[in-house]
């Protein structure tokens, strides 16, 4: 029943005005946004927020990291597996500058983060005060948006805006810098109102039906259509819409590493990974298809190889939410602007049901060649030293593709992305665009907080692990259950591979020594095991997966094994080498 205006006024409960500090308003706002966990590290300029947090312990979980970079990567892992916004607290000066790598990573990989940094008192701004840095200007190129708060009255609205910007449209990291006086300042708090509109901000471009029609006609006329999909499918929550499109159109689909898992690994139309170390067929066929349908991907140079020889024979249909991506690297014949969750069903409705059997058979031929010449040797070598590929292969057998795989950066990352079996979406967490070594361990911690119900396996190299290994302390203190596999080839393997292939084996500073990782884990009260022999592998993997709590499994793998296939830099994707 609708109330009359008089009745509404009479029965309305007056909004309760509370006097609270800026810090409390911030924490209330975070809770109103559904924040359950914050990754952070205290310090002088953020002390009022931490003081307020003391009374919020029951409502807001805080994970004390060991370095602020770890906080950003953990928040990224959390966001990537949960689909929610990751939240970070850090202090001013070095605390804030330590966020930069994580922000840059989140920016290039479109990960929604809200980072709160403390700042010196507003009257000290610009005076080179203790632990003052110009964090707004430092982080401008690596944030989707940032804002400095000097008046606590702004906090609720700015926080609402921050969450809205971080998660809407093409997601990204946002930073709010709050001066210490604003954290302390008392305000009349009227409650929290989420933001859903900013007049100068268009999260999604308008869909232009003419292009949908044109794209559908092009797809229906195609003899050899090929789909490339990226993280946009996951970010749009469009996995079902995507699968429906693929299945109806019968078009083979290949993924970028951030798009992995949008459809299951063993889906018959999933033809594998794109790019420099992607699968043979997808790379070669890029240069023989007639229509290329790119969905939520941005034609990174690691995907395209040499641009002037990239799919020049094909018409390109590009679906993207970010108009700045259209024509940025590859010229689109039909730009389908919009969220693919909205545009894919429109396309599916217009495309004809097809099988494309002959065309798919071509992919099968390449797959067979790759399988025989490369994959089988790598996954089941039988003799000789252990390979990275077989570790991932055996892991697949045990997890049945149900685990979340977090990888660091380097050879093991390419191997993990190539071979990890993924049955589910949001199950492959890796640093794609920025290639941040040290990402893996903290990201795995966050990934587990994002999906506590799932097994999280971090695959990390001996180099990358040593960049952020202090986060073992975070694991120890929080008790989070993360399975850590260190694939140790005693080299900075990817750089060594390039030095072997392109610099005449001039191994310049790529041999890296490591501590006893198992003893290291032990000192953090984390169980561990080192594997050097093939027969130890499966029992050790089983032990790791069955262990209650975190586990470090170090596997000694072949020192000078190269990742293949490979599209050498400066070469076309169709010049991919199998050895």
């Amino acid at each position: 029943m609708e109330l009359s205006i008089e009745e509404t006024i009479r029965t309305a409960v007056p909004k309760e005005l509370k006097t609270v500090s800026g810090s409390v308003a911030l924490l209330e706002g975070l809770i109103a946004e559904g924040t359950e966990v914050v990754f952070g590290y205290p310090g002088g300029a953020i002390m009022p927020i931490y003081d307020a947090l003391y009374d919020f312990k029951a409502r807001l979980q805080h994970i004390l990291v060991r370095h602020e970079q770890g906080a950003t990567h953990a928040a990224q892992g959390f966001a990537r597996t949960s689909g929610k916004v990751g939240v970070v607290f850090a202090t001013s000066g070095p605390g804030a500058t330590n966020l930069v790598t994580g922000l840059a990573d989140a920016q290039i990989d479109s990960t929604p983060l809200v980072c709160i940094t403390g700042q010196v008192f507003s009257h000290l701004l610009g005076t080179d005060a203790f632990q003052e840095t110009d964090v707004i200007n430092i982080t401008t190129p690596v944030t989707k948006w940032n804002y400095q708060v000097t008046d606590a009255n702004e906090i609720p609205a700015v926080l609402a805006k921050a969450f809205y910007i971080a998660k809407s449209g093409r997601p990204g990291p946002v930073l709010i810098d709050i001066t210490k006086d604003a954290q302390i300042q008392k305000i009349d708090y009227e409650g929290y109102t989420p933001c859903n509109h900013i007049r100068s901000y268009r999260p999604k471009p308008n869909i232009r039906m003419a292009y949908i029609e044109e794209a559908a006609a092009m797809i229906n006329a195609a003899k050899k259509p090929f789909i490339l999909f990226g993280q946009g499918v996951l970010l749009g929550g469009a996995e079902k819409e995507f699968q429906a499109f693929v299945e109806k159109s019968g078009i083979p689909a290949a993924w970028t590493i951030l798009g992995a898992g949008a459809i299951p690994s063993d889906h018959p139309l999933n033809v594998g990974m794109l790019g420099m170390h992607g699968n043979y067929g997808p790379n070669v066929q890029t240069n023989s298809c007639d229509v290329l349908i790119a969905i939520g991907m941005r034609f990174d140079d690691r995907v395209t190889g040499r641009l002037d020889k990239y799919a020049t024979q094909a018409k390109v249909i590009h679906l993207d939410i970010d108009p700045a991506e259209i024509d940025k690297n590859v010229k689109a014949d039909v730009p389908v602007w919009g969220d693919c969750k909205d545009t894919l069903p429109l396309l599916t409705a217009r495309v004809e049901g097809r099988q494309h059997n002959d065309w798919r058979a071509e992919f099968a031929v390449f797959e067979k060649i790759e399988q025989e010449e490369l994959i089988s040797k790598e996954l089941e070598p039988g003799s000789g030293e252990l390979t990275m590929g077989e570790v991932i292969h055996q892991l697949n057998q045990l997890t049945k593709g149900e685990a979340i795989i977090v990888s660091d950066v380097g050879q093991h990352q390419m191997v993990a992305c190539r071979y990890a079996k993924l049955n589910n979406t949001r199950s492959n967490v890796t640093s794609g665009g920025l290639g941040t070594m040290g990402f893996g361990l903290p990201a795995a911690i966050g990934a587990k907080f994002g999906r506590p119900d799932r097994t999280v396996v971090a695959v990390i190299g001996d180099g990358g692990f040593q960049m952020t290994l202090q986060e073992l302390g975070t694991i120890m203190q929080s008790g989070v259950d993360v399975k850590i596999m260190i694939l140790n080839n005693q080299f900075l393997g990817m750089v060594r591979q390039w030095q072997q292939l392109f610099n005449e084996k001039r191994y310049s500073f790529v041999d890296i020594t490591s501590p006893d990782f198992i003893k290291l884990a032990e000192s953090y009260y984390i169980a561990g095991k080192k594997v050097t022999e093939r027969e130890e592998l499966i029992p050790a993997l089983t032990q790791m997966l069955e262990h209650k709590g975190s586990f470090v499994l170090e596997v000694m793998v072949e020192k000078e094994l190269n990742v293949f296939p490979m599209v050498p830099q400066g070469c076309s994707v169709s010049e991919i080498r199998l050895k």
């Binding site: 401008t140 190129p141 910007i165 007049r199 100068s200 901000y201 232009r208 108009p323 700045a324 940025k328």
Partner: protein, 203 residues
């Protein structure tokens, strides 16, 4: 490839950016150029005809392809409303210059006054010791007057950034509606309806 030749050619572009009035936005826009090592030849930022909305005029020498990409990356910024980019053929543009010269020279030498008049200069301030002239025009025009005045003891010179009006438009409002027509959608909004009381402006 003929297309490639065309897109590789650099020329002068004027980029007009409509934005919110926000601290830090200048830097956010400037780094989009500096990231690609593009030099900004001229930059003017001032309030537009619509309250709380500012207009940037940025002049760069670049290829059309790069300018288009840069414009899209600027437009993507949260507080940017709209970006246009135009070649010199598409715009009417002016720069203003001020010249400070000793008054006695002007007073003594009649032909200096004539030169100034020929160059469309106007006296802004006349004092016993110096006179300030102003002229408005294209770069070559304001440059020319420097040459003219240099022998007569030019004391100081300053030039403003470029301001430009887009020829093919009936103002910001019309242009924006044009943009809307190209991309119709559920949130088509007429700018005339921008509600100044509630400070609402949507596109």
């Amino acid at each position: 490839m003929k297309d490639a030749e065309f897109t590789d050619k650099k020329q002068e572009y004027t980029i007009s950016v409509y934005t919110e009035n926000q601290v830090g936005l200048l830097n956010r826009i400037a780094i989009i150029f500096s990231r690609r090592k593009i030099n900004i030849e001229s930059l003017n930022v001032s309030p537009s005809e619509i309250q709380h909305i500012h207009r940037f005029n940025i002049v760069v020498n670049e290829t059309p392809d790069t300018v288009r990409k840069v414009a899209r990356q600027i437009e993507k910024q949260v507080e940017v409303l709209k970006v246009y980019f135009n070649t010199n053929d598409d715009i009417i543009w002016q720069e203003m210059a001020l010249y400070k010269v000793p008054t006695d020279v002007i007073a003594e030498k009649v032909y200096v006054e004539r030169l100034l008049r020929e160059n469309g200069a106007r006296a802004v301030v006349i004092r016993k010791d110096y006179t300030v002239f102003e002229t408005t025009g294209h770069r070559e025009e304001t440059d020319k007057l420097i040459e003219v005045l240099q022998p007569y003891g030019l004391i100081e010179f300053v030039r403003s950034a470029r301001v430009a009006i887009i020829k093919n438009s009936q103002g910001f409002n019309e242009k924006l509606r044009e943009f809307e027509r190209e991309e119709p959608g559920q949130d088509v909004v007429e700018l005339e309806h921008s509600d100044t009381k509630r400070d609402v402006f949507t596109m």
